[in-house]
C-alpha cells in the first residue's frame, strides 16, 4: 500500500507571495520529499538586457527583477558597469548608496520576520511588524520618491540628495524603529508558542550549509561566515560599522535572530552614515562605453547577488548574467524540508525568505 500523499503548495497559495510550486511528498504530515517548480516568473530579462535595452537603461530594468531588493540589483549592475567603464564616484554617493541598501535590508528583513510570524499563525505579530515597517517605507519614499522601486542609483552616482532636515527626520524615525526591534527581540526569544514553532525546526547544519553553498542569513544562521559585505571593497562598509552576525543552531529561530541582529546593525550603520555624511557631489558623469568582463557581488537581504557582465564597447551588452540569492539557495531549501512536518512548511519557507521573482528572472 502506498502511504504517501502529495501536498502541493502553489502556484497560487495564500502563504506565497509569488508563484512557485512545491510538491511535498508526505507521509501523513511528515515530509519525505520535495519537488519544486520555480519557473513561473520567468520573463526573459537576461535576454532583454542584451537585445532590447541599452546599457544605461538596464539599471532600471534589472531593478524589476525583484521588487524587494530592487536597489541591490541596480547597485550590482551599476557597479559592474562602472568597473568596466572605469572611473570613480564620489564618497558621498557611495555613502548614500549604502544608506539605501541598508534601508532596503531593514524593510526586507522586517517583511520576512512578519511573514514568518504570519505563516506560523501569529497574526498579531505580523501586524505589529508590518505596522512598524511603514516607518521605513516612509523614509524610503521621502528619500527616493517611491516606496518600493527606488530607481535611486544611476551609473555615476545617485539621483537625489538628502538635506539636513530630512536627515534629522530619518534619524528620529530610525530610533523609533530600533526600539521596536528590541521589542521583537524579546518576543522572538521569549514567546512560548513561537519557540514551539521555531526552535529546532528546519535545521540546516553547518556542514550542509557549506555543502549546499548556502548564502545570506540562511548560511550565517548555520555558522558560515558568509557575508558579501565583508568580501567586497566597492563600498566602504567597514568604515561605517558593519559587523557580521553569526549563529550556530541553524533553525528557524536562529535565522530570525540573525535577521533581528542585522536589523540593529543596519540601523546603526544608517545612523553612522547620516551623522557623518561627507560633502560633495552625488553624481559624476562617467564617459566612455563599457568593455570587458566583470563579476560583481553584493549582499542582498537574502544573501549574495552576483552580476556577470560582458561588454564589447558598444551600447548593447553581450551578456548579463544575474545570479540571485534565492536561486542558489534552492538546493539547500529542498534539503531542509525533508523530514520536517507539513505544518511547519510555510514557516520554514518564510524563514528562507525566498523570492522567486529573481530566481526565474
Amino acid at each position: 500500500m502506498k502511504k504517501t500523499i502529495n501536498i502541493p503548495i502553489g502556484s497560487q497559495h495564500i502563504a506565497l507571495l509569488e508563484p512557485v510550486r512545491f510538491k511535498f511528498e508526505c507521509e501523513n504530515e511528515k515530509i519525505v520529499g520535495v519537488d519544486s517548480d520555480v519557473g513561473f516568473v520567468h520573463r526573459g530579462i537576461e535576454k532583454a538586457c542584451t537585445t532590447k535595452f541599452k546599457y544605461d537603461a538596464i539599471g532600471y530594468v534589472v531593478a524589476r527583477v525583484c521588487g524587494l531588493c530592487a536597489i541591490t540589483h541596480s547597485m550590482t549592475y551599476t557597479a559592474s558597469i562602472e568597473k568596466l567603464i572605469g572611473g570613480e564616484i564620489t564618497q558621498k554617493a557611495k555613502y548614500l548608496r549604502i544608506l539605501l541598501l541598508e534601508l532596503d535590508r531593514i524593510h526586507s528583513h522586517m517583511l520576512c520576520l512578519s511573514h514568518t510570524c504570519e505563516n506560523a499563525g501569529f497574526e498579531a505579530m505580523f501586524m505589529r511588524i508590518m505596522g512598524d515597517r511603514e516607518d521605513i517605507m516612509e523614509i524610503q519614499e521621502l528619500i527616493t520618491g517611491n516606496r518600493v522601486q527606488f530607481d535611486y542609483i544611476s551609473i555615476g552616482g545617485v539621483n537625489r540628495d538628502i538635506d539636513a532636515a530630512l536627515a534629522k527626520k530619518i534619524l528620529s524615525k530610525l530610533e523609533l524603529v530600533r526600539q521596536k526591534v528590541l521589542g521583537y527581540m524579546d518576543e522572538f526569544t521569549n514567546n512560548w508558542s513561537l519557540s514551539l514553532k521555531f526552535k529546532g525546526v528546519g535545521i540546516l547544519t553547518l556542514d550542509d550549509a557549506y555543502r549546499f553553498n548556502a548564502i545570506g542569513p540562511l548560511a550565517r544562521a548555520s555558522g558560515v561566515q558568509a557575508d558579501v559585505r565583508n568580501e567586497i571593497d566597492y563600498l566602504p562598509y567597514n568604515e561605517i560599522g558593519f559587523k557580521m552576525q553569526k549563529h550556530t543552531e541553524g533553525d528557524i529561530n536562529a535565522r530570525n535572530l540573525i535577521r533581528l541582529n542585522e536589523l540593529l546593525n543596519s540601523i546603526e550603520m544608517c545612523n553612522n552614515i547620516l551623522e557623518g555624511l561627507p560633502e560633495g557631489e552625488i553624481f559624476t558623469k562617467l564617459r566612455g562605453k563599457p568593455n570587458g568582463e566583470s563579476v560583481v557581488r553584493f549582499e542582498a537581504p537574502r544573501g549574495e547577488l552576483m552580476y556577470y557582465v560582458k561588454a564589447n564597447g558598444s551600447a548593447m551588452l553581450e551578456r548579463v548574467r544575474i545570479k540571485t540569492p534565492t536561486f542558489s539557495s534552492i538546493p539547500a531549501f529542498s534539503h531542509i524540508f525533508t523530514g520536517a512536518n507539513y505544518a511547519d512548511a510555510p514557516a520554514i519557507l518564510a524563514s528562507f525568505d525566498p523570492c522567486l521573482s529573481c530566481t526565474a528572472k
Binding site: M1, K3, S11, R21
Partner: protein
C-alpha cells in the same frame, strides 16, 4: 419438547442433512430452516417466562466426558502432526487438569440447564443474526473454489456452531460449559483453516492455542471450585461465593477474556480474518466472541469490589487501546475485527460493573453489536466478491457505483456510534453508570477517561472509513454496474429491518425520548433532501481548488501510525492488569 432442546438439537440434525444434496435444494432448505430457528427463538421469549431447570442423566454426563476426551486428543494430535509445540503443550496440560477434574468430581448436583432472560436474549441474537449470516454464507461459498462436499460441509459446520452456541447459553454446568467451550474452539479451528493453505492453517493453530488458554483457565476454575465450594454449577458457585475467595470467578473471567479476544489474547481473532468472510461474521457478531460478555453477565452477581473494579478497568482499557490500534489499520475486515475487540471489552466492563443500568447497557450492546457487525461483514463480503476490494484505501468513491452498499456501510457504522441506535444508548448509559460509580471509588475516573477516549477513537475510526466512500469526482460520470447477488442484498435488508426494530424496542422501553429518536433521523434524512431540491438547480459544478494547478494531487488515506513501542506497552499493561487481577484475587 422445550424450545431450548429444539434450538440445540435441530441445527445439529440439519447440519448432517445439509451435508448432502444439491445446490438448489440445499439453499431452499436452509432458508426455510433459518426462518424456523428464528421463529422458535422468538417464541421462546414469550413461552418461557420463568427460568427452566433440567437435570441430565448421568449417562449423558459420561457421553460428555467421552466427547471431551476425544476433542482433547484431537487437539493433541493436531499439535503433534502440525509440529506446533504450544498447541501440544496446552492440550497435554488440559488433559492433565481435566483428569483431575474428573477425579475430584463434586457430589452436589443442581440443574444442568438453566434458562433465564439473558439466555433468551442470546437465543435471539444467535439464531436470528446467525441465521441471516448462514443465508448469505450460501451465496458466499458458491463463489469459492471448493468441492461440492466441502461447500456443503461449510454450511453444515455453521449450523453445528449454532447448535453449540445455543447449548452454551443454556447450560448451567461448568463441566458441560467446558466441553462446549472446547467445541467452539474446535469449530473455529476447522473454519479458520478452511482454505487449507499455509496462512490459514498457521492462523488456525494460533487461534487454537490461544483458545486453549481459556480452556485451561476454566479447568483451573473448576478444580478450585470443586475443592473450595464442592460444586460444578454456576448458580451454586455464585450463590455460595465467599467475598474473600473469588478465584474461580477470576479464572472464568480470564476464559471470557480469551474468548472475547481481549488484549493480550487478541491475536487469534485477527488471524481469523483469513477464513471466508461469513466465518468472521459468525465469530464476531452472533457466536464465539459473544460467549465472553455472556459469561461475564452470568458471573456479575458474584463479583465485588476489587474484582469488579479491575475487570472494569481492564475492559475499558482494552476498549480504548483496541480502538486506538484500529486507527492504524487499513484492511477493512481488520478494522471491523479490532472494533469488535473494543466493543466486547466494553461489554465485559459493563457486565462487571453489575448495576442494573450497566447490565441493561451490556445486553443492548450485545444485540446491536451483533446486528451491526453482521451487516458490516456482509458488506465486506460484497466488497470482496463483487468489487474485489479489501482495503479501505481503495474504496474511494464507491458511492458512484453502488449506493446501496455504501448506505449499508454507513448505517452499519452509524448504528455503532450515533443516536438513536443501541450502541449509542449503551455508551450513554455506560458513562452514566460509571459516573455513578466514581462516587464509590475514584479509580473509576480512569475507566471514564478510557471510555471517553475510546469512544472518540472508535468514532474517528468509523468515519475515517466512511469518508472514503463518499468522495465523488465531478468529471467521472460513468458508473460501473456490478451485480450483487440476491443472497447478499436480502440479508442486508433483513439486518437493516432488525436495526430499526431494535430502535423501536429501545423507544418502547423508554431508553430514548421522542426527540432523541427523531431529531437525528430528521437531520440525517430529511434536511439533505430538502436542501438538495432547493439549492442544487442553481449550482454550477466546478473542479476542486488545487492552487491553480490543473493537475490533480494524489490523495491517499490518512493513517495513524502507532509506534511499535506503544503496541508493546498496550499488551504489557493489559497483561499486567490481568496478573494483578489474579494476584489480587488470590491474596
Amino acid at each position: 419438547m422445550t424450545t431450548y432442546s429444539i434450538l440445540i438439537i435441530a441445527p445439529l440434525l440439519f447440519a448432517f442433512s445439509v451435508l448432502f444434496g444439491g445446490l438448489r435444494v440445499r439453499n431452499v432448505l436452509t432458508v426455510v430452516f433459518v426462518l424456523f430457528l428464528a421463529g422458535v427463538s422468538l417464541t421462546n421469549i414469550f413461552l418461557v417466562s420463568s427460568s427452566t431447570q433440567i437435570l441430565f442423566s448421568p449417562l449423558l454426563h459420561y457421553l460428555f466426558i467421552l466427547l471431551d476426551s476425544i476433542v482433547l486428543i484431537y487437539f493433541l494430535w493436531q499439535g503433534v502432526i502440525k509440529k506446533h509445540n504450544l498447541v501440544t503443550f496446552f492440550a497435554l496440560l488440559q488433559m492433565m487438569l481435566y483428569a483431575a477434574v474428573v477425579f475430584f468430581s463434586s457430589s452436589i448436583t443442581s440443574s444442568d440447564i438453566l434458562i433465564d432472560e439473558i439466555s433468551s436474549t442470546m437465543y435471539l441474537v444467535i439464531n436470528i443474526v446467525g441465521g441471516i449470516i448462514i443465508v448469505y454464507a450460501l451465496g458466499y461459498i458458491e463463489s469459492e473454489k471448493f468441492s461440492r462436499f466441502k461447500k456443503n460441509g461449510f454450511i453444515a459446520l455453521l449450523f453445528f456452531f449454532l447448535s453449540i452456541m445455543n447449548f452454551i447459553v443454556s447450560t448451567n454446568n461448568i463441566e458441560i460449559f467446558f466441553l462446549l467451550f472446547e467445541l467452539t474452539t474446535l469449530c473455529s479451528y476447522i473454519l479458520i483453516a478452511y482454505h487449507g493453505d499455509e496462512v490459514s492453517s498457521e492462523n488456525a493453530l494460533k487461534a487454537l492455542w490461544i483458545n486453549q488458554i481459556g480452556g485451561v483457565a476454566i479447568l483451573i476454575a473448576l478444580i478450585v471450585s470443586i475443592t473450595q465450594y464442592d460444586t460444578v454449577y454456576f448458580d451454586m458457585l455464585i450463590n455460595n461465593i465467599n467475598e474473600l475467595y473469588l478465584l474461580p470467578i477470576v479464572f472464568l473471567t480470564i476464559a471470557a477474556f480469551v474468548k472475547g479476544a481481549s488484549i493480550p489474547f487478541d491475536k487469534w481473532l485477527l488471524g481469523a480474518m483469513v477464513a471466508p468472510t461469513p466465518v468472521s461474521a459468525m465469530l464476531h457478531s452472533a457466536t464465539m466472541v459473544k460467549i465472553a460478555p455472556y459469561l461475564m453477565l452470568k458471573l456479575a452477581p458474584a463479583m465485588s469490589g476489587f474484582v469488579s473494579l479491575s475487570i472494569t478497568l481492564i475492559g475499558t482499557f482494552v476498549f480504548f487501546s483496541a480502538s486506538l490500534l484500529a486507527l492504524s489499520k487499513d484492511y477493512f475486515k481488520e478494522i471491523l475485527g479490532l472494533s469488535t475487540i473494543a466493543l466486547l471489552a466494553l461489554m465485559m466492563a459493563l457486565a462487571a460493573i453489575g448495576t442494573k443500568e450497566a447490565t441493561t447497557a451490556c445486553l443492548v450492546l450485545i444485540v446491536f453489536h451483533a446486528i451491526s457487525k453482521a451487516l458490516l461483514f456482509l458488506q465486506a463480503a460484497i466488497l470482496e466478491k463483487s468489487f474485489n476490494l479489501k482495503y479501505v484505501n481503495d474504496i474511494n468513491g464507491l458511492i458512484n457505483h453502488s449506493p446501496f452498499v455504501v448506505l449499508f456501510i454507513v448505517v452499519g457504522f452509524a448504528s455503532l456510534t450515533l443516536p438513536p441506535f443501541g450502541a449509542f444508548v449503551a455508551k450513554f448509559m455506560a458513562i452514566e453508570s460509571i459516573a455513578n460509580e466514581i462516587g464509590n471509588n475514584p479509580l473509576y475516573v480512569l475507566a471514564l477517561i478510557f471510555i471517553a477516549l475510546g469512544s472518540v477513537f472508535l468514532t474517528l475510526l468509523y468515519f475515517k472509513v466512511l469518508t472514503k466512500l463518499l468522495a465523488k469526482d465531478v468529471s467521472q460520470e460513468k458508473e460501473i454496474h456490478v451485480d450483487i447477488p440476491k443472497l447478499f442484498t436480502v440479508p442486508s435488508f433483513a439486518l437493516l429491518a432488525l436495526l430499526v426494530m431494535g430502535v423501536y424496542v429501545l423507544y418502547e422501553k423508554e431508553f430514548l425520548t421522542t426527540a432523541q429518536v427523531f431529531v437525528p433521523v430528521v437531520l440525517i434524512a430529511v434536511v439533505p433532501l430538502l436542501f438538495a431540491t432547493l439549492l442544487f438547480k442553481k449550482a454550477h459544478r466546478v473542479k476542486e481548488y488545487h492552487c491553480g494547478e490543473k493537475e490533480e494531487p494524489q490523495l491517499n488515506m490518512y493513517y495513524f501510525e502507532i509506534a511499535r513501542s506503544y503496541k508493546m506497552a498496550i499488551t504489557v499493561v493489559a497483561t499486567v492488569l490481568i496478573l494483578v487481577l489474579i494476584l489480587g484475587a488470590m491474596l
